[in-house]
């Protein structure tokens, strides 16, 4: 606390307890994350609970405010010419733009798990100096501004908080272009659901991620956009054309969400989550495919070993497919192996979640990339990018999503938003257009 004690301060039962009209600087922000995973998983952008934390240390290039639009935080995008873009990077080390370009480049490598490289698909000829990145646009892509705010495309360091990714506290970064965050330090603890819920209930932590607070009431439905979509990716070459039919008939997303996904989730009937599909989400697509032949296939379902949620979903899929005559072996693997398997196509069934951008066209690009259909990308994105009006483009993207639902080797399951609970001494917590809580905006009110 940097305020010295006032000489005469009489707290005579003021009408509003404690808080100031302006945010207060100082204090230690204590966050608890329900995750048994090791520290390396903390910067996992694909998971709702950790994506916001990742953004604190490895900041995205800009913030997408639901009302105010794109706010440049660590980088600013300009269009010097109609089909050229320039990105001025303000945070990070001396060679920040070159490092960023290298990071983008590594996303585009064939061996990386990076469906997010679809967001960079329109860029060509990316060159970097120490602080700026220049690129040409292969085709007009108006959603580029919003897409670049995706956490996966951000910097590796220079975030609002700095520090080694271990349990020692992270310190506020005074050189962050938007200004240092209000709390001085960030302390992160992890543990299993019950333990962190208990520590939140006993006010040992200020923010709780990934668990419902320890009371008997069910968690409320998320009001933030649920953009963390979980898909079941399959390889039609391995599994046969009738597998899609069987999956459609046996895997019920509503059932999954109600019974097996403990965190608040919404079922996905269309290729994109309901938050992106709008009204079109209500009408589930009718699916007709080849009728399944005599069963007896053996398949392997690969999923992230560290995620309890995926385990429950995988088990349910195993059971449902078993009822249809498919023997499914479950194979939990570490995240790195999951990524390499996806990249090399070494799987029958694979359960993966990722964060979709809030623009339907960009989200469609990411979904196509996840399905492995790079060939479709150029065609679809060029067509979508040509539509200049945002509302028309969104509508067109929704149409294409509905049309592609049956043909991409992806089964959409459910979408989630981060499960965040804040104690009463947290102020200023808002969510951005990705559904992530903007943790660098909040401040503490208690002494």
């Amino acid at each position: 606390m940097n305020a010295r004690a006032l000489a005469v301060v009489l707290l005579l039962g003021s009408t509003v307890a404690g808080a100031a009209g302006r945010p207060r600087y100082g204090g230690t922000l204590r966050i608890a994350l329900a995750s048994p995973a090791a520290q390396a998983e903390l910067l996992n952008v694909d998971r709702p609970e950790t994506a916001a934390l990742a953004a604190l240390v490895a900041p995205p290039l800009c913030r997408l405010d639901p009302q105010r639009g794109v706010i440049p935080t660590t980088a600013e995008l300009t269009h010097p010419q109609p089909n050229r873009v320039q990105l001025l990077v303000r945070a990070g080390g001396p060679r920040r733009a070159a490092d960023l370009a290298a990071r983008w480049n590594s996303l585009s490598q064939p061996g990386a798990f990076s469906p997010y490289r679809a967001l960079l698909a329109p860029l060509r000829g990316v060159t970097a100096t120490a602080t700026t990145i220049d690129a040409a646009l292969a085709f007009p892509w108006p959603d580029l501004d919003r897409s670049l705010c995706h956490p996966a495309l951000g910097l590796a360091d220079g975030g609002p908080y700095t520090g080694p990714t271990s349990r020692v506290p992270f310190s506020a970064n005074p050189t962050f272009p938007e200004g240092r965050p209000f709390p001085d330090r960030l302390q992160l603890t992890t543990g299993d659901e019950r333990r962190v819920a208990r520590s939140f209930a006993t006010r040992q932590v200020d923010l709780l991620f990934g668990a419902a607070p320890d009371d008997a009431q069910p968690s409320p439905a998320p009001q933030t956009p649920a953009l963390f979509a979980t898909y079941l990716v399959y390889r039609s070459a391995h599994a046969g054309a009738e597998l899609r039919t069987v999956l459609e008939q046996s895997v019920d997303a509503q059932d999954l969400v109600q019974r097996f996904v403990t965190a608040p989730a919404v079922p996905m009937t269309q290729l994109l989550p309901p938050a992106l599909m709008g009204a079109a989400a209500a009408t589930p697509a009718a699916f007709s495919g080849p009728a399944p032949r005599a069963p007896g296939r053996e398949l392997t379902l690969v999923y992230d070993a560290a995620l309890d949620e995926h385990r429950a979903v995988a088990e349910r899929i195993q059971v449902r497919l078993h009822d249809r005559g498919y023997r499914v072996a479950l194979k939990p693997v570490p995240r790195a192996e999951l990524a390499s398997r996806w990249a090399s196509g070494d799987f029958d069934l694979l359960l993966q979640s990722l964060l979709l951008p809030p623009a339907p066209a960009a989200a469609l690009a990411v979904a196509i990339e996840l399905a492995g259909r790079h060939d479709l990308l150029a065609v679809e994105l060029t067509a979508l990018g040509a539509v200049a009006d945002a509302a028309a483009r969104d509508a067109r993207a929704r149409e294409r999503a509905a049309a592609l639902r049956a043909s991409l080797p992806l089964l959409p399951l459910y979408a989630r938003a981060p499960q965040v609970s804040a104690s009463s001494n947290i102020q200023g917590l808002r969510t951005d257009a990705f559904g992530l809580p903007m943790l660098d905006q909040l401040f503490l009110t208690q002494d």
Binding site: D255, T262, V319, H322, D323
Partner: protein, 556 residues
Amino acid sequence: MRLKTRLLLSFVLLALVPIAIVVPTARAQLRSTLERELEQRMQAAETATNADIVQRRRDVRETMDRLSDSEAMERFVKEFHANLTPSRLSATAQQLIRIRLLSVLSVLDEKGVTVLSGHLPARRGDPDPDLFAVTKLQDPEPQVVLVEVRGDAGLQKMPALVTARPVEYGALKLWVVGGVLLDKSVADHLADLTGTRVDIASAGASYATGGKALPPLIERAVPLAPSSEVTITLALSRATVAEAERVVLKAVLVFAALGVFLALVLALWQSLVITRPVEALTEGARRVAAGDLGAKVEANAQGEVGALVETFNRMTSDLRRTTDNLVAAERVAAWQEVARRLAHEIKNPLTPIRMSLETLQAASAENNPRFPSLFKESAAVVLEEVDRLKRIVDEFTRFARLPKPQLQDLDLEDLVKQVLTLYAAPPPGITLEPALEPGLKAQGDRDQLTQVLVNLVKNAQEAMPGGGRIWVRARSRDGQAVIEVEDTGPGVKPEDRARIFEPYFTTKGAGTGLGLAIAARVCQEHGGMLEVDGEPGKGAIFRVTIPRQAAAATAA
């Protein structure tokens, strides 16, 4: 068979025979005992298994009774009634499972739909006809049911002992079905308990296996329930019996080997003690037979064998002495004989000399007119007889003063060829056939050996006045050079063979009878010998044997 071998064999047999008798009987006895014991073990295993299963049933029944009455269950039903989130419900189920040590726990609603499942959480919301059937049975005893559980390769059915209890809360009626899986842990437990290999299986499939047993096996099947297909099969390995037998046999064989080894050692030792002196004696006797009359046997021996050795040695020394005496006497006898012969030879010419001279005397005394012709006649006779005398003396001198041979390296082939050149033109009817080993060398006096050979060939020729064949062979044998002269003459009679080498023994009309004696003497001086061989009537073979290397001449 040698004594040593016989000794060895007898000792070994002594060691082996008792073993050979004892082992098979022991083995048979052992086998029957072990088989009996195996049978008893299997019986015990079956009893233990049955008891364990009964205990498990009881545990399941009691646990389920307690569970259905417990507070936790009540709380759960209330929570369910209040439509709580699935996460809380399944956490409760996990807790119930953990606390109660059940491995199967499902809660079904009235229609048989799984409300939640502890063993297969992903079944929530689906009907479970197998477990629902248990609820219909109205039997508090646990039943054997095939339950779907999650395995590594997918879902599989496992047998389990489950029973159902109803739970009610107001209008809400639920069934809680729980029990224990008969899976690998049970199989392992039973395997540890009974020491057998436990197989939980039914007609089509094997569910769990615990323990190990190597074939050959003895098996017993224990059915879990009268109506159930699932059985527990216990298997004991007969291999232990075989193993035990093998162990015993191995031990026995080890001891046998040890015994044999000891027997061998003993035998060897005894042989040293016994057979070596015996062999030495044998060798000594052989040496004596070969001519070394003074052979002594040196052997350490005790007892009878030692006495034998002493006796032998004494005998050989006597033999030697006697032989020496005999040889000396013979020698004397030989000289006596030679002197007698010589005297006889000399006497012969003396008679004509005397008569001639007496005639002359008489003639002279009478003043015989025929004195000059008589003188001439008589002078001729006297001179002839003196020549004869001279010849006899010369030969004798030569015999007596035979010089020591000057030994040098000789090429015998060359030597024989030279001798044969003298007979390049043999008398008609006589063929000479040489067979000479090339490169045959020996140590010898050239002149003397030449003389020997000449003598032999001449004898052969003279023995076949009518013609015949003469072979001359030279070869090496055993480090000695052998020269043979064979003819096809009448041969030498056996009674003469010993005497033909004596001086003045002759079967020819002419000759002095010294030729062969000289030849034999020469051979002796060379360290070799001269032998005669051949079948009478078929011809004679004279064999000269001389050492190829210089050797000390044996005393003649």
